[in-house]
Amino acid sequence: MNRALKLVGRRAVSSIPVLLIVVVGTFFLLELASGDAVDAYLVSLGGGDAELARSLRESYGLDRSPLHRLWLYTSSLARLDLGWSVAFNRPILDLILERLPNTLWLMGSATAMAFALGTLLGILAGARPGSAADRVLSIGSLALYAVPSFWLGLVLSLIFAVQLRWFPTAGIETIASGKTGLDRALDISRHLVLPVCALGFIYLALFLRMMRAGMAEVWRQDFVLAARAKGLARSRIVLSHVARNALLPLVTMLGLQAATMLGGSVVIESVFAIPGFGRLAHEAVAARDAPLLMGIIVSSAVLVVLVNLLVDLAYAALDPRVGAGEPAS
């Protein structure tokens, strides 16, 4: 485990400059927007006095040079101060931390569903390349891969929520139901089924296709022939030798897709009215609250970095070659 931790430590350190670039980038976007931020705020108050305008400009540093503002922005971020949301009249960090758990549940479940089903079906397809199962699954997954997630969400809710009434149409839980413990957990999972499917199916298709392609690759390797020469059962060859090795690139993909999936949750949370991080982004756009939007971008970058560190740990656990120095014996 030591070697994995060392690796993750290295990765964490190397992501600091990358995060700084993100901060600088969002600062420029903010500069583009913030010229009118004070005005927009004053308008929202129904026009304010000059004194308020001056103090606001001061707090945004609008009376200083851009470089100075960048310094102010970066140092307050470093103190975990993401600023104040004009639209919600609350600290941005509080808003984000309040919304984040819902999104983490949504993304976590979608990832788990997509990864589990995707690898399983991918193994089914890749176990016998060219078989009927393989053809059906590869065409089906390609079709699924082409479906826009927000539209899929609408169609699913039309069928399963509106017509069949199996699942609720919106929200993360029944409002003011007073449910606690297991009841509440069940309630939340019932609410999450459709959004998880809508968000996760495209990744299911992706993982299926990667697994299938990866297995086709591994079937050609010598050690698979060696496994056949040992006379092992076909299921063992497929699972322990072929699938086990083909799984590794999927784990890497898990990290690469974290950012895309976080973006996807913006639309899905809007479709299903889930009060999460992504919906907050949409609300920030609707309220023209640029500082909130930039806070969301910076924190999503941090989140993606953290997910990638977790993925690195998982990868190191699955691949003994990671971080190996000299031969042990």
Binding site: A226, P327, S329
Partner: protein, 262 residues
């Protein structure tokens, strides 16, 4: 003559490639005697590996096989792993990189000898000792990348003999290794075959290496058997010009033998 393990009768193998079929083996008649050490030699592309895969019944699915292989030495059709063990050329790629050595060595034994998990690992431990892996206890828990090329090939040999097969096929087991390690591997194979009473089919480019310890030599060219016979006779009076050219090209009498003939 001793009893026969296998008889190849008119064995042909072809791989369908882009329209026409290319024969990798053509009408091969060859006997393999019980307990003998048979060397198969021939240049690259002469069909040696194809012959080995056919014997182990692990040809790729698209290969077409004609003719017969009879196994008078076995009561039944041979089972890969159980009756025939196989050692591949490159130990760098013939071991699963993400599976523990112990599990890789044990899995054949567990499958064919009906061993449980811990009995399988015990068998793996004794096999690793047999092939002289240093600190076999620790090696059980190791992974292939932690071993040198020669050690990996020893591990691959342990995998191949795990279920006590009657026939061990080694397909150029030393050509990916350097000279010193080659000699160790050949010595190891020679010893194991002797102690276990296994039959060995040893495939090589190198007639010098083959003549060192094989009882018989079979020479292949372009998928056909050129000639087969006792090592001494083949070396002393080869019937075919092709064999003569191989001997002339390969045997360098000044170089020491890798192992002494028994």
């Amino acid at each position: 003559m001793t009893s026969l393990l296998a008889e190849l009768r008119g064995l042909s193998v072809s791989y369908p490639t882009a329209g026409r079929t290319a024969f990798a083996l053509r009408e091969v008649h060859l006997d393999i005697a019980m307990g003998e050490r048979l060397a198969i030699i021939g240049e690259s592309g002469s069909g040696k590996t194809t012959l080995a895969l056919a014997l182990a019944s692990i040809l790729p699915p698209q290969a077409r096989l004609a003719g017969r292989i009879d196994w008078p030495g076995l009561a039944r059709a041979p089972v890969a792993g159980r009756d025939v063990g196989f050692v591949f050329q490159d130990p760098g790629s013939s071991l699963n990189p993400v599976m523990r050595i112990g599990e890789q060595v044990a899995e054949g034994a567990r499958r064919h000898l009906g061993l449980g998990r811990s009995a399988g690992l015990e068998r793996a431990l004794s096999l690793l000792q047999r092939v002289r892996i240093p600190d076999p206890e620790a090696a059980l828990r190791g992974y292939p990348h932690q071993f040198s090329g020669g050690q990996r090939q020893r591990i691959a040999i342990a995998c191949a003999i795990a279920a006590r097969p009657r026939l061990l096929i080694a397909d150029e087991p030393t050509s990916a290794l350097d000279m010193v390690v080659q000699a160790e591997i050949v010595r190891l194979l020679d010893g194991l075959v002797r102690e276990e009473g296994m039959t060995l089919v040893f495939i090589t480019h190198d007639i010098g290496l083959a003549s060192g310890f094989a009882d018989r030599i079979a020479v292949f060219r372009d998928g056909a058997l050129v000639e087969a016979g006792a090592t001494r006779e083949i070396l002393a009076k080869p019937a075919q010009a092709y064999t003569r050219s191989l001997i002339a090209a390969h045997i360098d009498f000044a170089s020491p033998r890798l192992i002494e003939p028994a």
